[in-house]
């Protein structure tokens, strides 16, 4: 059975990602999202050059806003997350166990954050594309194939620290 991704959350963090803002609101991308079952888009646009607004297009409700204190709620409510390649945004989406598509901002080509997105795609935790391939990616990829992201485990590190940093025993 085809999974339906009703609520889509898009986030660019604190960056400026004008091209993505523009592309998302074009009919081909909206149609591609609609094919996946999308009826609502919540779009955190950060510092991008477009106006925050709420409106409807191609039968999809769009809600564009700049910033919120916490994106946790929007991430929790989403069925599909589209994010910029920022490590924070990627890891938050993956830790919430949501299907994730990363759109790389090619204006930030020296950005080392690409490294993480690439590796996470190799490991099968997310897909990534550029604005130009966004439409075809949405049409071809199957988010069911993504594997869950393992939880971080700092316990080995913490016990190593306890091992090497000794304090006087409480007498």
């Amino acid at each position: 059975m085809q999974r339906v991704y009703k609520k889509c959350f898009i986030t660019v963090g604190t960056t400026q990602f004008n091209l993505l803002c523009e592309y998302i609101q074009t009919p081909p991308i909206l149609k591609a999202l609609k094919k996946l079952g999308c009826t609502e888009i919540t779009f955190q646009i950060g510092n991008s050059n477009c106006e925050p607004k709420v409106y409807e297009k191609e039968g999809i409700k769009l809600d564009l806003y700049r910033f919120k204190d916490s994106l946790d709620e929007d991430i929790k409510n989403a069925d599909l997350i589209i994010s910029h390649a920022g490590a924070g945004s990627c890891l938050e989406a993956l830790n919430a166990n949501k299907p994730l598509l990363v759109v790389v901002n090619e204006d930030l080509m020296d950005n080392h954050q690409m490294e993480l997105a690439e590796q996470l795609q190799v490991d099968g935790h997310l897909y990534y594309c550029t604005c130009d391939t966004l439409e075809s990616t949405l049409e071809t990829v199957d988010f069911n194939w993504l594997s869950p992201f393992p939880k971080p485990n700092p316990s080995a590190f913490i016990s190593y620290l306890d091992d090497i940093f000794k304090v006087a025993v409480n007498t």
Binding site: L91, N153, D162, I164, V167
Partner: protein, 210 residues
């Protein structure tokens, strides 16, 4: 005149021996510390943005009772990190100190030498006064001057402290600039991706921490 020159040469030579001795310890993993006190005076170098969030998550797993008193060093133009630190520490007692940033995003390497020197001069009295036993850091902004000062003071027997550097989780195949420098000085150098081993001289890998 000859005596002065030979004395200076001797001092420089002894200092070099000390530097190499400490670096030898760092490389052979002699990084333990046994404090006479019940707690370890600790500095957390807070970077910015994602690095701050990462550090805060790591701190949340650490047994904070062991690392007291705690001093957080922030960059002076970093507005959001203080809120994150306060939120993580809640009712606990801790200190915050701000220093000038050693390198801003996209700043050239040459001019960053001067800003780093400026930041180092601000850091010196702070470290001398606080006398940390452990320094935790994970990247840009504040960690280079703090670690540099701490290492130099350790060379001069003024300070006995250990540096723990945790490379950011977003570094999969290449080290950050801070990482490239601190792999020579940090007593504990931690990476979060096994592939990164090929990019550095020495590192410890405990799996992903955040």
């Amino acid at each position: 005149m000859g005596i002065i020159i030979s004395t200076i040469t001797l001092i420089i030579l002894l200092f070099m021996v000390r530097v190499f001795y400490l670096m030898f310890n760092v490389f052979t993993g002699k990084c333990g510390i046994s404090s006479k006190n019940r707690t370890l005076k600790t500095i957390f170098c807070i970077g910015s943005g994602g690095h701050t969030s990462e550090m805060i998550r790591i701190i949340s797993h650490i047994n904070l009772k062991k690392y007291e008193p705690r001093l957080y060093i922030l960059a002076d133009n970093d507005s959001s990190s203080e809120y994150k630190v306060k939120e993580a520490e809640k009712e606990n007692v801790f200190m915050i100190h701000r220093i000038p940033r050693s390198r801003n995003v996209k700043q050239s390497y040459v001019s960053s030498i001067f800003t780093t020197i400026n930041a180092t001069l601000h850091t010196l009295p702070l470290i001398c006064h606080f006398k940390p036993e452990v320094i935790f850091c994970n990247g840009p902004g504040t960690c280079i001057p703090v670690c540099l000062v701490a290492f130099l003071l350790r060379c001069l027997f003024i300070l006995d402290c250990r540096i723990v550097f945790i490379e950011s989780v977003c570094r999969v195949r290449t080290l950050s600039l801070s990482g490239k420098i601190l792999q020579f000085f940090a007593d504990v150098f931690v990476i979060q991706w096994p592939e990164l081993r090929h990019a550095c001289i020495r590192a410890k890998y405990f799996g992903r921490l955040t």
